[in-house]
């Protein structure tokens, strides 16, 4: 999706607040929103669908409201979409449904087990052989799909080199549409000067993890 979330290389956002106080949460509601996102979800959501729901927030809200506020909006919208909540319920702040069985409380020990259990793996075995080997020169695709994708706009139509092969991973674009399809995943390295006109010959590089279908072989 070609939305405002795709921020790499965009200009005009000003300086960074480097003096931020180093605490996990800057307000109680931030911590609670984080926690809700850890333990409440609809069973068929995928991480990529959740990210897409977040990208679909109104562009001005996306850029201007606090970070965890966008999580709240994402969670609410995704729950409404999947039927756990209704718009009326959230607006009226009153549950229309008969309370179901409560989830059992979890204590701190349960939580540490839960955190470890969150080490979700996205690599999959597939039959297809990887199309590229480390050192191969590639070009990223030029046209960005309308749906969720993880090929950032700044890295489209650009020459890169395969830096590493990570095996096959669940393909984000398909997963955001509810389909689990695995595809070979690579770290692709780009010279700064191929991405940004002002970088010139600066020897800085950008490494981006990209699925095979984002890539074409470089023409010789």
């Amino acid at each position: 999706m070609d939305g405002v979330h795709d921020l790499g290389g965009k200009q005009g956002f000003g300086p960074i607040d480097v003096d931020e106080v180093e605490v996990p949460f800057h307000a109680d509601w931030e911590g609670r929103m984080w926690a809700i996102a850890q333990c409440a979800r609809s069973p068929d959501w995928t991480i990529d669908w959740w990210r897409h729901v977040r990208e679909l927030i109104d562009p001005v809200d996306y850029l201007s409201r606090p970070y965890f506020d966008s999580w709240a909006q994402t969670h609410i919208a995704a729950f409404i979409d999947s039927g756990e909540l209704t718009l009326d319920e959230i607006v009226s702040n009153q549950s229309a449904a008969i309370p179901a069985n409560q989830q059992p409380s979890q204590d701190n020990e349960d939580i540490f087990a839960a955190i470890e259990a969150q080490a979700y793996r996205f690599d999959r075995e597939i039959e297809a052989q990887p199309a590229y080997r480390v050192g191969d020169r590639v070009f990223t695709r030029q046209l960005l799909p309308r749906h969720h994708t993880r090929l950032p706009a700044y890295a489209r139509g650009k020459p890169g080199v395969i830096h590493a092969h990570h095996g096959a991973h669940v393909f984000a674009d398909a997963s955001a549409q509810g389909n689990e399809i695995a595809q070979h995943l690579y770290s692709v390295v780009f010279e700064a000067g191929d991405l940004w006109i002002e970088a010139g010959n600066r020897k800085d590089r950008v490494f981006i993890d990209l699925w095979e279908s984002y890539l074409d072989p470089a023409q010789d």
Binding site: V18, L56, E84, N93, D204, D209
Partner: protein
Amino acid sequence: MTSFDPDAVSKIHRHLHSHLPSESALRVKALESLLVEKGLVDSATIDAWVEAYSEEVGPKRGALVVAKAWIDPGFKSRLMQDAVSAIDELGYLGKATAHLKVVENTATIHNLVVCTLCSCYPFSILGIAPNWYKTAAYRSRAVRDPRGVLEEFGVDLDDDIEVRVWDSTAELRYLVLPQRPEATQGFSEAALAKLVTRNSMIGTHRTLSPGSEG
């Protein structure tokens, strides 16, 4: 059932935009109380999650990984080869670290981590990401003007140091292994870990010193 339909969700967002209370705290409160009423979450469980990420799961985990790598060449070699197993040895494997990679700073290389598309971060070893990491300013500039960003963080890089920016676009996550500070011979693992700043593991801090705070 989830629709997986962006148009449907855009419409929901527009309704929410018009009808949700403006204050974030009220939005989250409404969400929590409805989920509790419906039996989808439990408030004590939420308390426990907040506590875990406020106290235990934070950058001191990453700092210990770094200190151990400085002291124990075997651990460092395992960490660079297979960071997932290495952090699992310490019980730190968890959210967003099942495909962790460690990238090492050297005298001629500086690494910087960003997620331009959202805010991916290795939570189980660094805890909650700082706000600046999630801002449009950092996300937009880190890939295009990493030296300018580093300068704002007080990091002045020589021209001959190569900057490597890692944009976390898939499920891999990156941890920067900073250089061991000078004059720390004989420091214990715990003493070394105290010198490792969170920002040094993201790449917005470079030169650690025996005086820096972990």
